[in-house]
Symmetry: C2
Subunit: 226 residues, 2 copies
C-alpha cells in the first residue's frame, strides 16, 4: 500500500514521513515551493530527509499561487513576521489562507494518479499556532470532500498522526524513531542560522526544552522556555 | 458584496460570470492556466469575457501542477482524447484528477484575502461528462471543509447556478442574458477552429441543437444532434 506524505522539510513533516514509512509499503513525497522567505533551505531539508528514508518518488510543486494570493507574512515581505505569542488565540500573521486546503487538494490529485491509499500530513492541532486549517474537524471534512470529488474506485484517507501531539512529544517520538532532526528546517525568518524568535522557532525550541533535549540546529537567539 | 468567479473562458463559466455579475456588487475572476492543449485560446476568451463584463480584478494562476500530476488527456498529450460518448457512465479520459478541488481550494484562499463572500463555479451535473468533482454532493462537502479551514470570521459560499441545467438551458439562458457566446471557447482539441468531435464540442453543439440556436463559433466538423 502506497502513501503520499506532505514533506516541507520541517520537524513535524519529517516525523510524519518516518511514521508513513513504517506504516506503508512505499512512500511518495510532495513538497510545495511557494517561494517564501526560507524556501531554498526547506527544499534542501526536503531532499535530505527523502534521501534518509530512500524516498525516490518526489514531486516538487511550484505553488507560486500561494505568493500571488498573498495575505500572509510568510509569502508577502511587506507583512511583518509577528513575534511568537504562544498564549494568544488570534490567528497569526504567518497564516497562509487555506494553505492546507490547497496542498491537500493537489496531493489528492497526485495520490489518485499514482494509486496511493493515504495522504499523510504533519499537522498539529493541540500545540499549534491557531491555524484553522490544522484542526481535525477540517481534515475530516476535507476527507469527505475528496471521497466525493474523486473517481468511485478511488479511496484515499487523510492521516494526521501528529494531530494531538505536543511539540515535546514530537521531539521525543522523533528521537525514539531515529528521525534525522539535524536534516530538518523550521525557521520562517532566515536560511543560514535559525532566528529563534519567529512562531515556528519558538514552538520548536519550547518543544525541545520540554522534552529535555538539545536541538541540533544552530540559533541566533535561544530564548529560555520551561 | 464581492464574489469570485472561476472563469475558464468556456460557455458555462461565461454564463456563470453573467449571473455572478447580476447578483454581486463586484466580481473578481480567476483563471487557471495549466498549459493544456488549448490554453492560449482559453486565456484570450477569459480576457475577452472579463472585458465584456468590465471585471478588472483578474487572477491568472499558473497551475502547472495539474500537468505535473498528469493522468488526463487534457494535460498529457500521450493520452488520447476520447471521442465523445454521451451515453456512457465511464469517467472520460479528459477527467483531471480532483481539478475542481484544487481550483476551489486556491479560489478559497484568494476569496479569503480579498474578502469575497461567494465563489461561483460553472459546474454542470445533470448533463456533464461524468466527472465526480462536478456533483452537488462534492460542492456541499467542499463548502463545509472550507468553512472549517478558514478564519472564524471568514464565511464563503460556493455557488453553482448551472448545476442542474442541461446544456440547452445554458444556451437559452446565455442568449436571454446577452452573454457574449462569440467570445467563449470550449474545444479541448484545437485553438483555431473547434474540432466538433471532443467531449466538450459534442456537449456544446448538442446544447445549441436542442436549444434550436446557432453556435456563432466555426467548427471543423459539425455532427448532427437531435
Amino acid at each position: 500500500m502506497r502513501s503520499v506524505v506532505l514533506l516541507s522539510g520541517g520537524m513535524d513533516s519529517t516525523l510524519t514521513a518516518a511514521i508513513a514509512a513504517a506504516e506503508s509499503d512505499a512512500v511518495a513525497a510532495i513538497h510545495f515551493n511557494y517561494r517564501h522567505r526560507t524556501e531554498r533551505r526547506e527544499l534542501k531539508a526536503f531532499n535530505d530527509v527523502c534521501d534518509f528514508y530512500e524516498i525516490n518518488q518526489r514531486l516538487i510543486v511550484d505553488a507560486e499561487v500561494i505568493r500571488q494570493i498573498g495575505g500572509s507574512s510568510l509569502t508577502d515581505e511587506a507583512i511583518p513576521v509577528t513575534k511568537a505569542d504562544l498564549h494568544s488565540n488570534i490567528v497569526p500573521s504567518s497564516y497562509v489562507p487555506f494553505r492546507n486546503g490547497t496542498f491537500l487538494a493537489i496531493a489528492t490529485g497526485w495520490a489518485e494518479v499514482i494509486s496511493a491509499a493515504n495522504i499523510y500530513i504533519g499537522a498539529v492541532e493541540e500545540d499549534s499556532s491557531g491555524y484553522p486549517d490544522c484542526r481535525t474537524v477540517f481534515f475530516e471534512a476535507f476527507e469527505k470532500a475528496l471521497q466525493l470529488g474523486t473517481k468511485p474506485e478511488t479511496h484515499i484517507s487523510i492521516k494526521t498522526p501528529l494531530i494531538s501531539m505536543k511539540k515535546s512529544e514530537i521531539v521525543k517520538r522523533s528521537l525514539e524513531l531515529g528521525a534525522p532532526l539535524e536534516r530538518t528546517w523550521s525557521c520562517y525568518q532566515s536560511e543560514d542560522i535559525a532566528c529563534g524568535e519567529c512562531d515556528s522557532c519558538a514552538l520548536r525550541l519550547r518543544g525541545f526544552a520540554q522534552a529535555n533535549a538539545q536541538d541540533p540546529l544552530p540559533y541566533r537567539v535561544r530564548p529560555t522556555y520551561e
